[in-house]
Amino acid sequence: MSKTIIEAKDVVKRFGKITAVDGISFKVKKGEIFAFLGPNGAGKSTTISMLTTMLRPTSGKLMLNGHDVTKDQNSARKSFGIVFQDPAVEEELTAYENMRIHAVLYAVPKPEQSDSIEKLLKLVDLWERRDSLVRTYSGGMRRRLEIARGLMHHPKILFLDEPTLGLDTQTRNLLWDYVRKLSENEGMTIFFTTHYLDEAEAVAGKIAIIDHGKIVASGTTAQLAKKTGTKSLEDAYLQLTGSTVRDEASKGNNGLNVRSANRNSRLR
């Protein structure tokens, strides 16, 4: 349980003049549920993109399950699954077809595919609508589909980038119950981001808080509260990151992030 499975060392990512990630270092242990928290634009998604081989860091080193992410991308990709912040489904296909493509891409054994797809689509309550084109789905339904898809193969590490954004409470609870089980039963490592601090408090074993591309604090909820002299994660978070509202950098997720921005402003 004490083996490090994700490690970032002095990682920097610049986009032109913007420094999105500014020299972060952290370790995640195998089987841990790790929450990566921070205001909009803090650099959470950029970090996940680098960890998942989608972006090359400007400098620094990233290790995933013993593989150097920038040097050995193919091995690194075999170690994780991901639910992206922004939609990543094929809208001109049905939910079932999307699931099938995912199963083949991730080499889920053929005999298991159909059962697994059925089980997961039922879990997120999309089984009845499996043959509708995703184009006709609402934002919440798409989100549920992406979550079902992300849970289909059982990787060593699962990245969830704001997975519960725009979801109803029932689906949120369902997701976290499932994720907890994956972590307990299979020793799966979970790396997630969220703006709902209650979620992080309830499920995360360890938390890192990032702001302006730098990690400002990390530890368990209790450690963070102690460090800041506050009583809850929310208070600790607000003390560490201030209370100004940030703009969301994300593109094309149908304004869902406006909601998270609103939520942030309510947190004041």
């Binding site: 989608m54 193919n74 296909l93 077809e97 991730y106």
Partner: protein, 248 residues
């Protein structure tokens, strides 16, 4: 193999589900065929060059493959914009296979469109010289469809937006087409045009297809086939190289 198949299949499903695209994509070559074939045919014949429609059909088939093949690259931009590219790129599958599955889908689509244009050209009065050479003509179309979709995929991998793609497209596609001997025989054109056309790889595809369908060739079928093979390998390598570098 099954990864390549499922990605190919996805392209085909998309294609079949949007029938308006099929009509749109063959409309332009058919317009060329009718306007030029019938419109300029009389002038061409008066100049003693024979039947212009006959001459034009191989060129228009190549045009269909060129436009629909390269234009298919925009699919990669759509996948970038709508996020599905990420889903494919983080999968534990080599990017070469991801590209291959998708691009073979694109190649199949442009081949279908070329065959539709080919079929319709018979209704317009096109006649084949030697039926024994038709399999060769199909092989040339196949090679060309792979070459051109790869080319489109390479360009799409390098640009970030639709405008950029359109810009490069117009800057490359129209010159490639107009300077390829698709519309006029190379024997009678000014020397400059002859030289430009002979460094355009597409010229050799048009020439080879014309040989297979009509028995006429400017360079000789051996040279045509050699240039086509080299061009295909170069375009596929170019696409693999660019696709491997995509950051999304």
């Amino acid at each position: 193999m099954s990864v390549i198949y499922i990605l190919w299949h996805r392209q085909m499903k998309r294609y079949i589900r949007s029938r308006s695209r099929i009509a749109g994509a063959i409309g332009q070559p058919l317009l060329f065929l009718m306007a030029l074939g019938y419109g300029l045919g009389a002038v061409y014949e008066k100049a003693g060059e024979g039947d212009y429609l006959q001459f034009l059909v191989p060129g228009i088939i190549v045009q269909t493959l060129l436009f629909s093949g390269v234009f298919w690259g925009i699919q990669i931009l759509f996948d970038k914009r709508f996020g599905f590219l990420k889903e494919m790129l983080v999968a534990p599958v080599s990017r070469t296979r991801i590209l291959l599955g998708n691009a073979l889908g694109g190649a199949t689509i442009s081949l279908i469109q070329a065959l539709l244009v080919f079929g319709i050209s018979f209704a317009l009065g096109f006649r084949i010289d030697n039926w024994a050479m038709v399999p060769l003509a199909f092989a040339i179309m196949l090679v060309l469809s792979v070459t051109l979709t790869s080319f489109g995929a390479a360009i799409a991998s390098m640009v970030d937006d639709f405008q950029g793609f359109q810009g490069i497209n117009n800057f490359l596609i129209f010159p490639l087409f107009f300077l390829s001997s698709a519309l006029y025989p190379l024997t009678d054109v000014p020397r400059v045009l002859q030289i430009i056309s002979s460094v355009n790889p597409l010229t050799y595809s048009v020439d080879g297809l014309r040989w297979a369908l009509l028995g006429q060739s400017h360079f000789g079928i051996g040279i045509d086939l050699a240039v086509m093979a080299v061009t295909m390998v170069a375009c596929v390598a170019f696409a693999v190289n660019r696709f491997n570098r995509i950051q999304a």
